[in-house]
């Protein structure tokens, strides 16, 4: 199993621990990740607000680079996945010739041979949960995990068609296969507000607080999300979020790869959990 790895910008910065965890987990599972040389920012759900064609063209380049490697493109961020899949849908839906005219200026060509996938989907569909379960060295026995999907791995369903947007189950199945106990909670399909961090900050803070409170009230020990942007929003803003809803119990928010890594026997440090703001000690205490 070999993938053209598209880390996304935040894995080089504030969510570097997700780079550490993803590469460690891939290595442990025998999934080969080859980082795409020269990948660029996907546009982060913002660039289309300035120039839609530019958003499509830069992602056509990203996909073309993966095609040169002759591998499917693997992301670990919901928004990167959406931006790349949106560009691919436009290319396959009639813009290929036009965009290839633009890519030709950079001696590149989009062909349509590389799928855009996400680590969560790869673990379920390509790797398989049976195989993952067999690789578990430290079952997450008794760990109550609230699966938080994040918007852009489900919506819009026309582009993100891996599972039912209204009642997805992939995270719950994954948590169970790692030996953990999936926890249903009210906010599992809601938005974290990350993309309006600067434009609607009070809303984003309130949402952070409500989401963590929702997980606390459902009895979760931690949350897990396939999106580093959700993770950052729910973790880094947690002190303000707690104050906004007057719920002061810390809620660790794990990246998907971190949860898998813990079950594979890696230590919290090896997975960069020491870089988190909230609930580091909770994870240390729960993982023995």
């Amino acid at each position: 199993m070999k993938y053209a790895f598209f880390p996304g910008c935040v894995l080089e910065g504030a969510a570097k621990e997700n780079y550490i965890a993803t590469t460690a987990v891939a290595k442990a599972l025998g999934i080969e990740l080859v980082e795409i040389p020269g990948w660029t920012c996907c546009g982060a759900s913002h660039v289309q607000d300035v120039d839609d064609l530019a958003a499509t063209a830069i992602n056509a380049r990203n996909i073309a680079l993966a095609e040169q490697m002759n591998m499917p493109l693997l992301t670990v961020c919901n928004t990167c996945t959406l931006m790349l899949r949106k560009a691919k849908a436009k290319l396959d839906g009639g813009q290929k010739e036009k965009i290839n005219g633009i890519l030709a200026k950079a001696d590149l060509q989009y062909q349509g041979t590389s799928e855009i996938t996400h680590l969560l989907w790869v673990l379920l569909k390509d790797y398989g949960l049976d195989k993952l379960q067999a690789a578990v060295k430290r079952p997450l026995k008794g760990l109550k995990v609230a699966g938080y999907y994040g918007c852009h791995i489900l919506r819009p369903p026309a582009l993100m068609d891996f599972e039912d947007f209204a009642n997805p189950q992939s995270l719950e199945k994954l948590i169970a296969s790692l030996g953990g106990q999936p926890v249903e909670f009210g906010h599992r399909l809601k938005c974290c507000g990350f993309h309006a961090t600067y434009t609607a900050e009070p809303d984003m803070i309130a949402i952070t607080g409500q989401t963590n409170q929702s997980a606390v009230e459902a009895g979760a020990d931690c949350m897990v999300t396939p999106c580093p942007l959700c993770q950052m929003s729910l973790d880094m803003n947690q002190p303000e979020g707690q104050a906004a809803v007057n719920c002061h119990q810390e809620m660790p928010v794990l990246h998907l790869a971190q949860l898998v890594g813990l079950a594979l026997g890696l230590s919290p440090e090896q997975l960069g959990i020491n870089r988190h703001i909230a609930g580091r000690e909770v994870i240390q205490a729960k993982i023995k």
Binding site: S45, R155, H195, Y198, D203, A206, M236
Partner: protein, 315 residues
């Protein structure tokens, strides 16, 4: 015999409560059929709105297991496959409830009207000649014309749920875009100018509206179209426009996001000082490195060439 259960959130004008109704399954029915069955056979006091039964009038949108659906056009069997034979039925969110599943549209209609969502015909049109439009121009606005004002987008909108004071219903942005893009309208510039201050940059990008619209509209994308137009018209002195432009600039400069500079560029020095406790928290955990600036990615000259070609093709 297979039984279906609707757990309905009811409201009698004073208090809210849930009531459980169980009735025999029939194949090939709709969500609305279930409500009508309850009213006709179990409880005539259950209040809901529905009229056309053909996804035209927009009266029957409700929430099922926390998601908005148009009751008349949604096959019940598909919903049961998704959620099982017991469903929770609620009125739309983000609307005042009048009774049971009936919501009050009046405040929404007022907000819609305040956004001037009617045609301002160009001066060359007359009552005698009418407001003619080519087929091609009509097709440009067909998706937005299909809105039936069912309220599903407003119900699911994450921003409205957080705070509706500084944001409009998603359908309103789609309607505003429709008139901006309508070849018969004379007020496009004034419409864009007005909408910038009516929450245009406050959308959270949750894509709920696009997902839940039963008529295939994409209000979130109409918001993006209005944003593009506002930037073209020079309305760039706001955090939203600065933030979006910063991403494109970073792609052009190096290929990747410069997180350290993002706050300064979006909300300026004063705004960024307000975020100091947050920044210090990140520094302490190694999540923010003020010294880190991305260097140019491999193939940076390709990006330059691509963005140059994009700009040329748009001229």
């Amino acid at each position: 015999m297979r039984q279906i259960t609707y757990i309905v959130t009811r409201f009698d004008g004073v208090k809210s409560f849930t009531q459980t109704y169980t009735f025999p399954h029939q194949p090939g029915k709709t969500l609305l059929w279930g409500l009508i069955t309850i009213k006709e056979t179990l409880d005539s006091s259950l209040a809901f709105t529905a009229a056309c039964r053909a996804a035209v009038c927009g009266a029957c949108a409700i929430r099922v297991n926390g998601q908005a659906f148009l009751a008349c056009e949604t096959p019940l069997d598909g919903i049961l496959d998704r959620f099982g034979d017991t469903l929770t039925i609620e009125p739309l969110q983000n609307f005042p409830v009048i009774r049971d599943l009936v919501v009050n549209w009046e405040p929404k209609a007022e907000r819609l009207a305040a956004a001037n969502t009617w045609l301002k015909p160009q001066d060359n049109f007359s009552a005698k000649e009418g407001c003619k439009q080519s087929v091609a121009d009509f097709k440009k606005i067909t998706p937005q014309i299909n809105c039936i004002l069912c309220g599903a987008c407003a119900s699911e909108c994450s921003k409205l749920s957080a705070n509706s004071d500084d944001f409009l219903e998603p359908f309103t942005y789609s309607k505003v875009w429709k008139f901006v893009a309508d070849s018969r309208d004379k007020d496009a510039a004034a419409r864009v100018k007005a909408i910038v201050d009516k929450g245009l940059w406050k959308c959270l990008h949750c894509v709920e509206c696009v997902t839940k619209c039963p008529k295939g509209l994409a209000p979130g994308e109409d918001i993006a179209r209005l944003r593009q137009m506002s930037i073209k018209m020079g309305y760039t002195d706001n955090p939203g426009a600065r933030h979006a432009k910063a991403f494109l600039q970073d792609i052009e400069d190096t290929g990747r996001l410069n997180e350290t500079k993002l706050s300064l560029r979006t909300i300026g020095m004063i705004g960024s000082i307000g975020k100091l406790p947050f920044a210090l928290r990140l520094l302490r955990r190694g999540k923010l490195n003020p010294l880190h600036a991305p260097s140019k990615v491999k193939g940076h000259e390709q990006i330059k060439a691509i963005l140059k070609a994009v700009r040329e093709s748009e001229q």
